[in-house]
């Protein structure tokens, strides 16, 4: 194999600055005398999945200062503008401070006892009358590890239902399924060091400049230092990322499926692949095709082992013959010549090639397939598991990895890559939880879309939403909001501010946020970061894990949480850690994390972190002389999947001639419930706009800032036009952001989802556009 110990040492030298782990929590340098009396603590940033470290200065029980932590390996003291104003997210004037209970159309103040007793009685009644699958919990990739763990134990081990989902279903589920069906283990082999060490970066539909701000400035620095570095942006929209890229390749929506297949075709046709790597590490598979789009309720689609065909390399090559560059051009809009060029870039032996992607690939009606195809490129060329040369799936939430994925708060998952369908996994879990293995149902629970549709169908009686805002963020939103407004289910919402979800709740619980509690987050690069509580939550607000345990006590499940009040977070951690030991995802004792700015798992027996998985150079699970070993995959062989092109669920037509795409911008985060409370960020960007291509705008008589009506088959909204602004969609495309709580743009989105990951496609549906 290509990677030698020497390469690794070279890489280590290049990243010597990372030796900074182990720096204790101390006052930051440069703190002057005027700041005395301030106690400083460390915490990961509350917002995106990058995982910047921040220092939090507290005086008199209040945060008086936050700054980027110079000892943080990810950000080295920097922040983006959201992180700069991080503390303000906690100090909005309308923080929820008391439990509220619905009395008709009014929300009335209540005590915690009243609220929790009410929730327990509603859940108890539903379970007694309709069984445990009539209740659910909907959490978050912003839950701390401890919160997610408690929720999983409560729902799966206590109540006995797998109706537990995180909002990460809306963002990372496609990445997860592809990690599992390719490598047999979730989360990337590479890490952020690859951004410093590589020389070729191909972005598939990712606006990294705005969605992963600090990471992007790191990538650009590599480009500044090394003239060889090339950044290729393949997208449907010219963004701030495009502006800094070396090359922009315009692609039609859903065109990634065709373009990737055509690139692979060229690699096979011209024998540009790494035969030795393939022989040693790869098996070829073909899955189920002609999949539905999940538009009908309860539409079932599964790719069971019986549906999977093994292919020989020759059979695979034969199947790929039809995906010529010309065919790729016809579907993707990327010129055949460019497809040939990309194949040469991916296979250039003098280049360290990385693929980067996020929601453009994941929020896709064939998102798992696109993830699979990107892995195919890296597996066929052997450009994987080497410093500076990896596919890297970027995440969007601070603990989508640490909580939703590693703890496994999905309807099918258990901690550390285990699943509810597997009897051995249930047994292992029950053993650690100290419960009867039969308590954990083998049946997969409701995935997010079905969970909220089940409310409309009167099948779900109770749902508890923590730390997320689904009644703004779900697609085809009107149907789901109407069901909630009709009070078809008993809805509990725990949050820190009034949101578009709390307005539909029967009980609103005030939560503690970020450093008002203790916790652990895990970021994109497998980095686990811990922080302590630094200030009290306002009023009677309580942390989510307390809420869950108090509820459990009232459900007669208090015995599942035998933790001490003082050591709660540490004790949950140590219990959870048992799942990880020996799994290849080993975590360190709690104490270790209190002293460092995070460690990347698997943490080695000597306490050191792992930067690259599956390689003898770094991964403790790969013995000397084994080179690269995909030890989590069956037979140590990873899968190259044959995944053809299939069209999106809805495409533009005569009546709805435009593609509609949604996403993020730098100044605000998710549904804006936090950044919307920061006056400086509101001043910078006050509301959503609709981006149009200038020629489309001209044809429709729309000028910059004109009010424009956008209508889909599901909803209609008026937004001001933005033309020639920060981003410009390709002709025939319009784009808007989802942070603005006054504009429920997700009412327009189609609730089609990937049949394997059940992740909705927020990036593609058809709309009409006219001047309002």
């Amino acid at each position: 194999m290509g990677l030698t110990r020497r390469d690794f040492i070279k890489a280590s030298a290049a990243a010597a600055a990372f030796a900074a782990v182990g720096v204790p929590v101390v006052r930051p340098k440069g703190v002057d005398a005027a700041e005395t009396g301030i106690t400083w603590g460390k915490a990961p940033c509350r917002y995106c999945g990058v995982g910047c470290s921040v220092l939090v200065g507290v005086k008199g029980g209040k945060i008086v200062s936050t700054k980027g932590d110079p000892a943080g390996p990810v950000n080295k003291g920097l922040n983006c503008i959201k992180g700069y104003f991080l503390s303000k997210a906690l100090y909005g004037k309308d923080r929820l401070t008391k439990p509220l209970i619905r009395k008709g159309n009014k929300m009335v103040e209540a005590s915690w006892d009243e609220a929790l007793n009410l929730i327990a009685s509603k859940y108890g009644k539903a379970i007694a009358e309709h069984g445990p699958d009539s209740v659910a919990m909907y959490g978050s990739g912003q839950w701390t590890v401890q919160e997610g763990y408690a929720a999983s134990k409560l729902m799966k081990g206590g109540i006995g239902t797998n109706n537990l989902e995180p909002n990460a279903r809306l963002c990372m589920a496609s990445a997860v399924v592809a990690f599992m069906n390719t490598f047999g283990s979730d989360e990337p082999m590479g890490c952020y060091d690859d951004l410093d060490l590589g020389d070729t970066y191909i972005l598939w539909g990712a606006n990294m400049a705005e969605a992963h701000p600090v990471l992007f400035s790191r990538l650009i620095d590599n480009k500044l230092k090394h003239p060889k570095v090339r950044l290729i942006d393949i997208a449907t929209r010219r963004t701030r990322t495009t502006k800094m890229a070396d090359e922009y390749i315009a692609m039609r929506p859903q065109g990634d499926l065709a373009a990737l297949n055509a690139i692979i075709h060229v690699i096979l046709r011209d024998k540009l692949y790494d035969g030795a790597f393939i022989k040693q590490h790869v098996s070829f598979k073909r899955g189920k095709e002609n999949a539905p789009y999940g538009l009908k309720d309860k539409e079932a689609f599964n790719e069971t082992p019986a549906d999977v065909k093994n292919l020989s390399f020759d059979e695979y090559k034969e199947l790929m013959k039809k995906f010529t560059p010309q065919w790729g051009e016809k579907i993707s809009g990327i010129p055949a010549k460019k497809i040939e060029e990309l194949a040469l870039v991916y296979t250039d032996k003098s280049r360290k090639v990385n693929s980067l992607w996020t929601m453009g690939v994941n929020q896709h009606s064939r998102g798992v397939w696109v993830n699979n195809l990107i892995y195919n490129l890296h597996l066929l060329t052997g450009k994987i598991c080497k410093p500076g040369e990896n596919p890297l799936s970027l995440t969007g939430q601070p603990s989508a990895c640490g909580t939703a994925r590693e703890v496994g708060t999905f309807a099918h998952r258990l901690p550390s890559d285990m699943v509810v369908m597997n009897e051995a996994h249930r047994k292992k879990t029950a053993g650690i939880w100290g419960i009867d293995p039969n308590k954990i149902p083998a049946k997969v629970g409701l995935h997010t879309m079905e969970m909220f549709r089940a409310i409309d169908r009167n099948e779900l009686k109770c749902i508890w939403i923590q730390c997320t805002n689904p009644f703004q963020s779900l697609p085809n939103l009107s149907r789901l909001r109407k069901a909630a407004e009709a009070r078809k289910a008993f809805i509990v919402v725990s949050d820190i501010y009034p949101t578009r979800s709390t307005e539909l709740a029967d009980v609103i619980l005030p939560s503690a946020s970020w450093v008002e509690k203790e916790g652990v987050f895990g970021n994109t690069e497998r980095r686990t970061q811990q922080w302590f509580k630094m200030i009290d939550a306002p009023g009677q607000a309580k942390e989510d894990v307390w809420q869950l345990i108090e509820f459990a006590k009232r459900m007669g499940l208090g015995h599942l949480f035998p933790y001490s009040e003082k050591g709660l977070h540490r004790e949950i951690w140590e219990e959870y850690r048992k799942f990880t030991i020996g799994s290849g995802k080993d975590l360190a004792p709690y104490e270790a994390y209190t002293k460092v700015r995070g460690l990347r798992w698997p943490v080695k027996p000597d306490g050191k972190e792992t930067r690259w998985r599956y390689t003898e150079a770094d991964d403790p699970y790969v013995k000397k002389g084994e080179g690269i070993k995909f030890y989590k995959a069956p037979g140590n062989k990873v899968n190259v999947w044959f995944r053809p092109y299939e069209p999106p669920a809805e495409s533009p037509d005569k009546d709805y001639p435009f593609w509609f795409c949604t996403g993020r911008l730098l100044e605000h985060w998710h549904t804006g419930t936090m950044t919307g409370r920061v006056p400086e960020l509101k001043r910078a960007v006050s509301g959503a706009t609709i981006e149009l291509h200038p020629e489309d705008a001209k044809r429709l008589g729309i000028r910059n800032r004109d009010q424009v009506r956008i209508t889909s088959r599901r909803g209609s909204i008026v937004l001001p036009a933005e033309i020639n602004g920060r981003s410009t969609p390709e002709k025939g495309n319009v784009f808007t952001t989802f942070f603005d709580e006054t504009k429920l743009i997700n009412e327009l989105c189609i609730d089609a989802f990937d049949p394997l990951s059940k992740e909705p496609d927020f990036k593609k549906c058809a709309v009409k556009v006219k001047k309002a």
């Binding site: 104003f85 400035s217 500044l224 001043r683 910078a684 800032r705």
Partner: protein
Amino acid sequence: MGDETPHTGMSRRQFLKGSAATPLALMLAGGGVVSVYLRPADARGFTLRPPGAIAEKRFLAACVRCGKCAQACPYQSIRMAGGEAGVGIGTPVIIPREMPCYLCQDLPCVRACPSGALDKKLEDVEKVRMGTAVIIDRESCLSIRGLRCEVCYRQCPLIDKAITLEARHNIRTGEHSILEPVVHKEKCVGCGICEKSCVLPKPVIVVQGLVEIQKDSYDF
């Protein structure tokens, strides 16, 4: 400056009505309230006038203080100056930090001006020259300090023309880049959207009066 700008014919007049802007008489009655917000001139005596304003001295003579430009402004960006403006009392000003000029493509303020104080020959918004943005406090600018801010750049209506981002290595961290907003005064219209959107309490980017472009060759 105004008379140096190459203006051509007039575009279709189309402005939004219903502005609650204050004409002179009303303003005098309740001037106290308005003047709280006013920064009619900066330290160097610069007053930001609506698009198309002719040179300041001639502007003061030409403007009839009718307030029609303010009434025509759909964003209420144009206000009428109060007593503290001295001879400029009742003339239209823009205070970008409160409400910048959003550069309506049909320039309704210019079309509304009956006196020629706003030059009707102006029809291309990119040719507007009200002033120019200047980063006045580099030490405080978050972007120049290496943070990912660049709000002024992304909000600039002439993004990548009037403000560009220049990337350079960040010595402080050794592995990030500084993305510095750089204003190009030959393209900047002086609308003040950057000043409005700067996230710092005292904006580090502000609109100042135009200065002549000075060459780097010495022409005797």
